[in-house]
């Protein structure tokens, strides 16, 4: 009982600092984790580490971070952004659809923040000429990046955690998640056009669209082509993950380090330091803390609680997971929340084997909730923070918490309601 209390107290203190941001969250999480290891929650600190840490996720992140940075240098993503604008043509509404869909597609493979950093500058170029308000476009793109990230196991950190713990292959996950998220995106775009109608009536001059030159994004043609081939190969490897029997961390490590060798042979060291180690070590600390919570039985308490209030109904439980995780993730970092919920879901079959023998659907409920909920507030996901700071830096527009929530609540309401309906379908399919 006492150990439970101590572990819970450490968790609460760490969460307090993560939310308040008073001390760097990585340092707090690492310190909390190491403290728990030293206190002897586990028979031996090293066993504790081995038990709790999901190496698969950590290595996957390292590999992907390197890979995305190297690919970025080739200009391949800028090229895509400009091509999209050209294809979409002169109507702002079409532009919105085209931009949000391509943002979703790109962010389903690379991280959301990078996607936002690539696409928002292109968007500013258009809204400047038209003299229209860039805010709806920027917010729509932020939302699209978060929605896109939900579609694949590698799009968003919580998905990496979930699919790594549940061992869901890439293609299977994408198969269930892409259609529902595309529908959510479509509805969200329609809602945006309705809400800020006047900005979408102007027409972009054709010659302006034509003046964009996508070849400028490419500095080195050979590298651009080689990078494209490399990128496609990596995506194919992910799609064939199950057939090849490769773990996603291996694919990502190979992708990262091979791309480094091929394209950045001269500058290996700077690229290695550019990896967001802060994020990796934050995960490391979190894994230990949630692992300790699991070890002392807190997770099974939560799971028991959830099972009791859902009265053994799968429909009830999956709806609860979608809504609770959605709303909570709107306010706090969704990574610790997902990391906490994963062991809870894993415990379900032990608590009520009759009703919850198949936990497969609940992984999807968790993923939909935590990833899509991030759209609720300006601080719900890192893409929101970065996108809004770009808006402030370049256009001097300060989107208030209230203004953001006006869009956010509608987007999240659409997302979670649709997800909830979708869960009913999934529960039928996965019986």
């Amino acid at each position: 009982m006492l150990t439970k209390f101590i572990v819970l107290a450490v968790f609460a203190i760490v969460m307090y600092f993560v939310i308040s941001g008073k001390i760097n969250k990585t340092i707090v999480a690492m310190a909390g984790g190491l403290l728990l290891l030293l206190m002897g929650i586990f028979p031996n600190p090293y066993e504790g580490l081995q038990e709790t840490i999901d190496i698969n996720t950590l290595l996957f992140l390292v590999g992907m971070m390197i890979f995305v940075r190297v690919m970025e240098e080739s200009g391949i993503f800028q090229y895509l952004a400009i091509r999209t604008v050209k294809v979409a043509g002169t109507k702002p509404a079409n532009l919105l659809f085209a931009l949000t869909f391509i943002v979703a597609l790109v962010s389903s493979f690379i991280d959301n923040v990078t996607t936002v950093l690539i696409f928002i500058p292109v968007t500013f170029a258009i809204t400047d000429i038209l003299l229209i308000n860039p805010t709806p476009f920027v917010i729509a793109e932020i939302f699209a990046s978060n929605i896109g990230g939900t579609m694949t196991p590698i799009g968003d950190p919580p998905n990496i955690l979930i699919t790594s713990a549940a061992k869901i292959p890439f293609l299977e996950f994408a198969l269930y998640m892409v259609p529902i998220n595309l529908i959510i995106l479509l509805l969200m775009d329609l809602a945006f056009i309705l809400m800020s109608g006047k900005d979408f009536r102007k027409e972009v001059p054709r010659e302006f669209i034509d003046s964009f030159d996508e070849s400028k994004a490419i500095q080195n043609k050979g590298r651009f082509i080689a990078s494209s081939i490399f990128l496609v190969t990596v995506i194919v490897l992910f799609l064939l993950q199950k057939q090849l029997n490769l773990e996603s961390s291996i694919i990502s490590l190979m992708a990262g380090f091979f791309s480094l060798l091929i394209f950045e042979r001269k500058e290996i060291e700077p690229f290695l330091s550019k990896v967001e180690w802060e994020v990796i070590f934050f995960f490391l600390g979190l894994f230990i803390i949630t692992g300790a919570m699991e070890k002392v039985g807190i997770m099974s308490d939560i799971a028991t609680f959830l099972v009791n209030i859902s009265k053994g109904s799968k429909v009830m439980l999956s709806s609860m997971i979608v809504w609770i995780s959605g709303i909570v993730s709107g306010f706090i970092d969704n990574i610790p929340f997902a990391a906490t919920m994963i062991p809870v879901i894993k415990q379900l079959p032990q608590i009520n084997p009759d009703a919850f023998s198949n936990i497969q659907p609940f992984w999807y409920a968790l993923s939909l909730g935590v990833c899509l909920g991030g759209n609720l507030t300006p601080v719900g996901a890192s893409a929101n923070v970065v996108g809004l700071s770009l808006l402030k830096k370049h256009k001097g527009i300060d989107v208030s918490f209230k203004d953001f929530i006006k869009f956010g609540s509608i987007a999240v309401a659409i997302s979670l309601a649709l997800s909830n309906v979708y869960m009913l379908l999934l529960l039928e399919i996965m019986k």
Partner: protein, 410 residues
């Protein structure tokens, strides 16, 4: 399969020798490929192959150094030495060399080199002492100091993590040899400098300084104390260094990314890759014939001396870490079959002293030569380096041999 893995292993080592600047990445990739080839591998049992204690110690020490550097701890030390010598430049040089030795025994060798070589070069400017002589000696003392403790340099960290010997046992066995070589080499240097009688006027710097560096220095000393007591406290060195670094980060309150981007990821990746490659080799039992060969003489002095000298010479060409990993697998097996733990000391001495042999034998040699090149536009050629290092290396080798003979006969 065996041939295939050996083939990968050879290529990986070829990269280490011929393309050292990309070897961290190539080694890691070849490492992953080789364990994948073995099949049935899964990252969850990675800790069985890669020793995480090693990585944690390195990471914790690198973070600590980065913080200490930021707060000017090293500048303070060097300033104090120069002041203490009261204008006697030869004394200053010798004291700096001793400081390099002592600091390297606890910190990363490259860091100490980067701090002290510029100061030595400055002294060389005003005394007409040969730049190359000072640089080469600084490198030698740095490598020598690194050899004397469990955390002094990466090879020793690996030996510590694999062998489960205590922090203090490294000091008992290796520090005396380090000191003997240090004293002899200092005497040799002092005789060379005899001719120079230069007195410099030291101008007192009247700059106001804050004394936070003392706080961090004491913190660091406390970490070292904990390391010395780690068996009594019942903690692994990896935890002590990591927790120590985190506490310093807490006190300092900066963001993690700025401190952690100073970490030398190259070394960490290289070690991880080497562990994987050796794990694969172990799985295919390639070492079995070697172990069978040495088994009959496992308790004899001859084996220890073979290990000492062969690792010493090999290190000159393969660099210290790869040699350590290669040998440690065999030694661990032999020790588990009843060989004395002195074989570990033979290895530590061999790679520690052999690390001085050529410009590529350790990271510190490469960095030291680069500092000389950047400051004074002088390049140390391979043969220059080898010829000036040969004497001190032989001296170290002979003293180590004497130590082993002494240990085995008693």
């Amino acid at each position: 399969m065996t041939i295939f893995i050996l083939f990968i292993y050879t290529i990986a080592y070829a990269f280490i020798i011929f393309k050292p600047h990309i070897s961290s990445v190539t080694t890691l990739l070849f490492g992953i490929v080789s364990i994948l080839l073995l099949g049935e591998f899964n990252f969850e049992n990675l800790p069985a192959i890669v020793d995480f204690n090693t990585l944690f110690i390195l990471l914790g020490m690198m973070l600590t150094i980065s913080i200490l550097k930021k707060h000017g701890v090293f500048n303070e030390i060097s300033e104090r030495i120069v002041k203490f010598s009261k204008g006697n430049m030869i004394l200053a040089i010798l004291l700096i060399d001793v400081a390099i030795f002592l600091l390297s025994s606890l910190l990363d060798n490259v860091t100490t080199i980067l701090i002290f070589i510029p100061i030595l070069l400055y002294i060389a400017d005003i005394t007409d002492i040969d730049y190359k002589l000072l640089t080469i000696n600084a490198i030698f003392f740095s490598n020598l100091g690194g050899m004397t403790t469990a955390i002094g340099d990466p090879p020793n960290i690996v030996i510590y993590a694999v062998s489960n010997l205590s922090f203090m046992s490294f000091i008992y066995n290796l520090m005396p040899i380090g000191f003997i070589v240090l004293i002899i080499q200092i005497l040799v240097l002092n005789r060379k400098f005899k001719k120079i009688t230069y007195k410099a006027q030291i101008t007192e710097s009247s700059m106001q300084k804050n004394n936070t560096w003392i706080l961090y220095f004491i913190g660091f000393m406390f970490i070292v104390l904990l390391m010395a007591l780690h068996e009594e406290v019942g903690l692994e060195l990896g935890f002590i260094t990591l927790v120590g670094a985190l506490i310093m980060l807490f006190v300092e309150g900066t963001d993690f990314q700025s401190v952690i981007s100073e970490v030398d990821w190259d070394t960490l990746f290289l070690i991880t890759g080497l562990y994987m490659l050796n794990g694969a080799l172990e799985k295919i039992e390639i070492f079995a014939p070697l172990i069978n060969l040495f088994e009959p003489i496992k308790t004899s002095l001859l084996l220890a001396i073979i290990i000492l000298w062969s690792s010493l010479l090999l290190t000159g060409f393969l660099s210290a870490l790869p040699v350590t990993l290669l040998y440690i697998t065999i030694i661990r097996k032999l020790v588990s079959l009843g060989a004395p733990i002195d074989l570990y000391w033979a290895l530590a001495l061999g790679v520690g002293i052999g690390g001085n042999l050529t410009p590529i034998a350790s990271m510190c040699n490469i960095v030291g030569s680069n500092v000389l090149k950047n400051y004074k536009k002088r390049t140390l050629t391979f043969s220059e380096f080898l010829s000036s290092m040969l004497k001190p290396v032989m001296l170290g080798g002979i003293i180590s041999t004497a130590f082993l003979i002494f240990k085995y006969l008693l």
